[in-house]
């Protein structure tokens, strides 16, 4: 499937493949048709995480490196992944290995940001726990000045922070964009609400999508932070009570909701947490009935998560159909709604 290499003009004109997971029935629509596909009583759950400028250029001792933040660890430290020479124009798997880091090494990014390597992960020598010297406003000001959003080799140019945000981004937790929500313009969400479909938000810290290191990629996603607020828990309970469908916008929402439920014996309990839940074919979602997702390649780990919502054969057919019809893939690509009939 061809990648969309840049955000296209009016996102609600992007294409939407509507897939009934039970029958495999497909419809070729536009994102602007989404309100009509959801009914009064249904609930759309969005991830309100903003995207961080998680890619930092700097020096590890004397070598030039790129460091990508992978997620905050909760104790003030960060998980981060080292990348060697080259930049986003090269595919991550084609870039040379970075120099080896050891606990105690210094990472320096420009004049105002520096960190210490606290430990090196047994999963991969490139996966580090680091701690920045700066805290509070000094840290956040420096991170936003020094950092750039994580880039993609298929992109037509260097992405700026504003290319990576949803229209409702509120809390900068994600290191890559929770991109399923990218086409949801405020006017579209208003139209959804006018139909009587409820909206709720959670926050989930989307992690790195790939690193080019097979051992590390196999371990993705790393444990990720989430916050499921009381309002979202109540909205989900209300949708259930009236027989409505709960539709997650993106895999990050699925991970937050199912991770939260899994941590509390199948029940949603409001609050923050960390989930290492891996969702695949054998997983029966306890909370989400359907998913609005971006188009991705079948080999991506993303695809196995979708198997929690539709059989592999149905997904493979839908993907072949989308490819034949010229749907575009990846972060700026077209969308798919997998939801059973109301």
């Amino acid at each position: 499937m061809t990648a969309a290499s840049w955000p296209r003009g009016e996102p609600t004109f992007d294409r939407l493949l509507h897939l009934d997971p039970r029958t495999g029935r497909r419809r070729d629509l536009r994102v602007s048709d989404l309100p009509a596909l959801l009914g009064p009583g249904d609930l759309l759950v969005l991830n309100d995480s903003a995207t961080l400028p998680a890619s930092l250029r700097g020096r590890l001792t004397d070598a030039s490196v790129e460091l990508r933040l992978a997620g905050e660890r909760g104790d003030g430290a960060w998980n981060a992944v080292l990348f060697g020479a080259g930049d986003w124009r090269a595919r991550t798997e084609d870039r040379p290995a970075p120099p080896a880091a050891r606990a105690g090494d210094r990472l320096v990014f420009g004049l105002e940001l520096a960190a210490r390597v606290e430990s090196v992960s047994p999963i991969s020598p490139r996966l580090l726990a680091i701690r920045f010297d700066e805290t509070g406003e000094a840290f956040w000001t420096a991170l936003y000045r020094q950092g750039r959003p994580v880039q993609y080799s298929y992109a037509a140019g260097a992405l700026e922070l504003w290319h990576t945000q949803t229209s409702y981004a509120a809390r900068p937790w994600s290191v890559e964009a929770p991109s399923a929500g990218r086409p949801l313009a405020p006017s579209l969400l208003s139209a959804v609400a006018r139909r009587g479909t409820a909206l709720a938000t959670i926050t989930h810290a989307a992690g790195l999508s790939s690193t080019g290191d097979p051992a590390l990629d196999a371990a993705l996603p790393l444990p990720e932070r989430y916050d499921v607020p009381a309002r979202a828990v109540a909205a989900i309970a209300a949708a259930r009570a009236r027989g409505g469908r709960v539709v997650a916008v993106g895999t990050t929402v699925v991970r937050a909701l199912e991770g939260c439920a899994r941590a509390h014996g199948g029940r949603l309990v409001p609050g923050v947490g960390v989930t290492d839940l891996r969702i695949g074919p054998a997983f029966a979602p306890a909370i989400a009935d359907g998913i609005l997702t971006g188009m991705h390649e079948p080999e991506a780990s993303h695809f196995s998560l979708l198997e929690a919502f539709a059989p592999r054969a149905v997904l493979a057919d839908a993907h072949a159909h989308a490819e034949a019809r010229g749907y575009l893939a990846h972060e700026f690509g077209d969308s798919m709604l997998i939801v059973p009939p109301a």
Binding site: G136, E137, Q165, A170, R171, P186, T201
Partner: protein
């Protein structure tokens, strides 16, 4: 603290132009009321001093220097602000520029200077509102305040670039209010009246300071409005702060 300000406790408020004048006075008042403050201005040192002063008094304030006329800076500031104080509940667009002083006649104003005034006073605030208002609408609450001026309404010679930018900002607010109706997000313009500030001295150096309002007293009225916009400011309204009661506290 008086009960009437309890809505400000833990509210995440971003104030632009917070290093002096009305912005600094408002920041002190909101800090005392328990708001979590992200303070923005171009100059670093004055802004740091205000943030330190608020923290020393037990408040929460973070200094985020930057130029809101610059797109990258606007996105950096919005991101760092949300990281520090959480999703923004109240956005106060107080920063503005007069353009060149002494104030020239409009026909003698360079087009580039007019463009710069519009970039800082109109496009900058609009960009910041765009970044945060979508999340406000989804949460079902939020307040956007544009600090306006008498010059937005009356046509004073030599106040052309500034007056045009403020009139446009007022109308921007009215249209946003109309589009956001029903979402719980309010957009209001406030006219603080003539204040004893450096901006006023830059514009009218011969004015008698005794005839000008103390920015701190104006800030009390603005804090009252922000704590209870449903009382003092229907969305889309243009409010003269002289008509808002001045509270003793915060």
């Amino acid at each position: 603290m008086k009960d009437e300000y309890r809505t400000l406790v833990h509210a995440a408020v971003l104030v632009t132009g917070a290093s002096r004048g009305l912005g600094a006075a408002l920041a002190r008042r909101l800090g005392r009321a328990g708001a979590r403050l992200a303070l923005v201005a171009r100059g670093h040192e004055e802004l740091d001093a205000i943030a330190r002063e608020i923290r020393a008094a037990g408040g929460e304030a973070h200094a985020l220097p930057g130029d809101l006329g610059d797109k990258r800076d606007a996105h950096r500031i919005a991101g760092a602000a949300a990281a520090l104080v959480g999703p923004i509940d109240v956005l106060v667009h107080n920063a503005s520029t007069l353009g060149p002083v002494p104030l020239p006649l409009l026909l003698e104003t360079d087009c580039e200077d007019l463009e710069r005034v519009l970039a800082v006073n109109l496009v900058g605030p609009f960009r910041l509102t765009k970044i945060v208002a979508g999340a406000m609408a989804l949460r079902g609450r939020g307040l956007v305040v544009h600090v306006s001026s008498d010059a937005a309404v009356a046509a004073y010679p030599r106040w052309g670039a500034y007056g045009v930018s403020k009139a446009a900002q007022d109308h921007l607010g009215r249209v946003l209010a109309a589009e956001l109706e029903g979402t719980g997000v309010r957009v209001v313009s406030v006219d603080p009246g003539e204040m004893n500030t450096r901006m006023h001295a830059d514009a009218l150096p011969d004015a008698d300071p005794a005839t000008l309002a103390d920015p701190d007293r104006v800030a009390r009225r603005l804090a009252a409005l922000i704590s209870h916009p449903e009382v003092f400011a229907p969305s889309g309204a243009r409010v003269e702060l002289a008509g808002v009661p001045e509270r003793e506290s915060p």
